[in-house]
Amino acid sequence: MIGVELRKLFGRPRTWVTIAVLNALPVLVAVLLQLTDLAPRPGEGPPFLSAVLTNGALFPLAALAIVLPLFLPIAVAVVAGDAVAGEAQAGTLRYLLARPAGRTRLLVAKLVAVIAFVLVTVLVVAGVGYVVGTTLFDAQPVGGGTSVSGTSLSQQELAGRSLMAIGYVTVSMLGVAAFGLFFSTLTDSPLAAALGALAVLVTSSLLFTLDAASPIAPYLPTRYWLAFVDLFRDPILWRDVVRGLALQGVYVGVLLAAAWANFTTKDVTS
């Protein structure tokens, strides 16, 4: 069933159009940066963007930081929101459930497909970022580069940490995917499910900037998203990375349980 879902998702042209659109913004930023040579001032702009001018190999990280706050979660929310509600709207959910596989397995298969989408998207953004970064900017041929703490990183270390960052960003999106999937079991409208997941994200991002909300800040789904920067400090600052992974795990666990509780007893009429 998982294979069927994966083929269905990646067989759709709109999946690839979404990934292409996601790559457009970082590429545009890279071209503008190359043409104007104007790096963001310290303390402004996405992480790593200032460092790209001296080391183009860092552009995959800057590209991830550019799409992470808004573009990537929107794409994930749309795909996850479509997972069950899309079938209901198209009138195909009944036929899917007529198979003996069971509703729980369908839910798991849908989640795995969304996770695969996130992973592919993040890998493509990072890959395109690497090609664009090393083509448009100077890459440091000897050694890998400088860590955020000012120490030298070898090429292997930089590559290893970049892979960890790609993994971390993928996991960070799982909370959004779980919200989208849960809302997708509540409604027959994919748009409503995607907007529901986005409403949660906007609320979380807004509360995170508010001092008055600091007691609940550690539990907000977007709280640890930028912690992938901590992987490039020396020594690595694991605290927020570990908390970010655990928090996404809790959101996925709870929302999947809620989706299961709702979906397995839902009257499917469409």
Binding site: P42, T151, P218, R239, G253, A261
Partner: protein, 368 residues
């Protein structure tokens, strides 16, 4: 149908229980009681003052609620006391340490060695070498609980100290030590220092303004490892592509400022606080008080006074009368004294606004 309804109920009940357990978990962990120990207040202070050589590494957060009415030139200092500052620290000794201020998109690391400091700024890609100075503006390393706790307790007398229970800080049992300043002029209500009894390290420091329920400054460790960190983590070599800068010569700046300062004789006592000297403080600046109750007085040239008056009067809480303009930010008072004849003065310190007004009257040339 009824069986299906019961099944749904059971499933939702299971999800509800899971959510309730997860939501309650942080509160249960936070409510774990801390072990108190029978250590007298003076003994705890002595342990704190002897802790400068204790090696450790950790992660600390300092949160300030002080909106300092200072000009644009001191934004770094103003941010330090009004924002949340996250710090990673590796401490091998007073002259061998590293403190990184961690921000979402970068970091600024201060590496101290016996010859001075290296300050690394990732986003600007600069490394600045500074020489040790007796007088310097506050920097993030000064706000570490361990450093701040030692500084604030360094002149506390036995009768100003009391024990204040125990609490969990950074996963350790910390003993409370409360400092209530004896000077009537003091604007500091109390300072609570939470100390690790085994090492003497302050784990949390809270500074309360008079009659305040919430601390004006709260700095604490979130993680702490009581092992001497390796030397190569603390040491620093500027990366090849960084811009290396010399630090501004503060001693030269202070000497120039002293030359330009109006020549006046400051009194031997202000607001009931006796004058004293600190290493590195120029003669033109009068320092008064002791412990956490300190007052500084300095004559300022007219141009500087104008800028300062503008900054002070912009604050809605500013009080302006015939003596000048004064404002309080938490326990910190700041006053620009503008006598009818003679130079203007700046008064600042951890004293009340009444004490500032009293001090202003005693300055040479002031309205009495």
């Amino acid at each position: 149908m009824a069986a299906r309804g019961r099944g749904a109920l059971a499933r939702w009940a299971a999800v509800g229980l899971l959510v309730a357990a997860l939501v309650a978990l942080p509160s249960v962990v936070a409510a774990l009681p801390a072990d108190d120990a029978d250590v007298p207040a003076a003994g705890l202070r002595d342990a704190v003052l002897a802790s400068a050589d204790v090696g450790f590494s950790g992660y600390a957060v300092s949160a300030g609620g002080l909106a300092l009415p200072v000009s644009d030139r001191l934004t770094d200092v103003a941010d330090l006391f009004s924002d949340r500052t996250l710090m990673r620290v590796w401490w091998r000794g007073p002259e061998d340490s590293r403190v990184d201020v961690v921000t979402a998109a970068g970091e600024t690391g201060v590496h101290r060695d016996p010859g001075g400091t290296w300050t690394w700024d990732f986003e600007a890609a600069t490394a600045t070498r500074g020489a040790p100075a007796a007088l310097a503006l506050p920097t993030p390393p000064d706000l570490l609980p361990a450093a701040l706790g030692r500084r604030l307790l360094s002149e506390a007398t036995d009768d100003e100290l009391a024990r204040a229970g125990a609490r969990r800080v950074a996963g350790r049992d910390a003993l409370g030590l409360r400092l209530t300043p004896a000077d009537a002029a003091s604007s500091v209500g109390r300072v609570d220092v939470w100390v690790d009894p085994a090492s003497g390290l302050p784990l949390q420091v809270e500074v309360f303004a008079e009659a305040a329920d919430r601390p004006a400054l709260d700095t604490r460790f979130l993680d702490l490892d009581l092992a001497v960190p390796p030397a190569d983590v603390v040491a620093f070599t500027p990366p090849p592509d960084a811009t290396v800068l010399p630090a501004p010569d503060t001693e030269e700046l202070i000497a120039q400022a002293e030359e330009r300062a109006p020549d006046v004789r400051l009194p031997g006592e202000l607001a009931g606080l006796p004058r004293r000297t600190f290493e590195g403080v120029p003669d033109a600046v009068g320092m008064y008080g002791r412990g956490v109750t300190l007052l500084a007085a300095a004559p300022v040239p007219g141009r500087l006074a104008g800028g300062l008056r503008e900054a002070l009067t912009a604050s809605p809480d500013a009080v302006t009368d015939e003596l000048g303009t004064r404002v309080a930010a938490g326990p910190l008072g700041l006053m620009l004294v503008t006598p009818p004849d003679g130079p203007a003065y700046v008064l600042t310190g951890t004293v009340t606004l009444d004490a500032l007004a009293d001090a202003a009257r005693r300055l040479p040339g002031a309205v009495s």
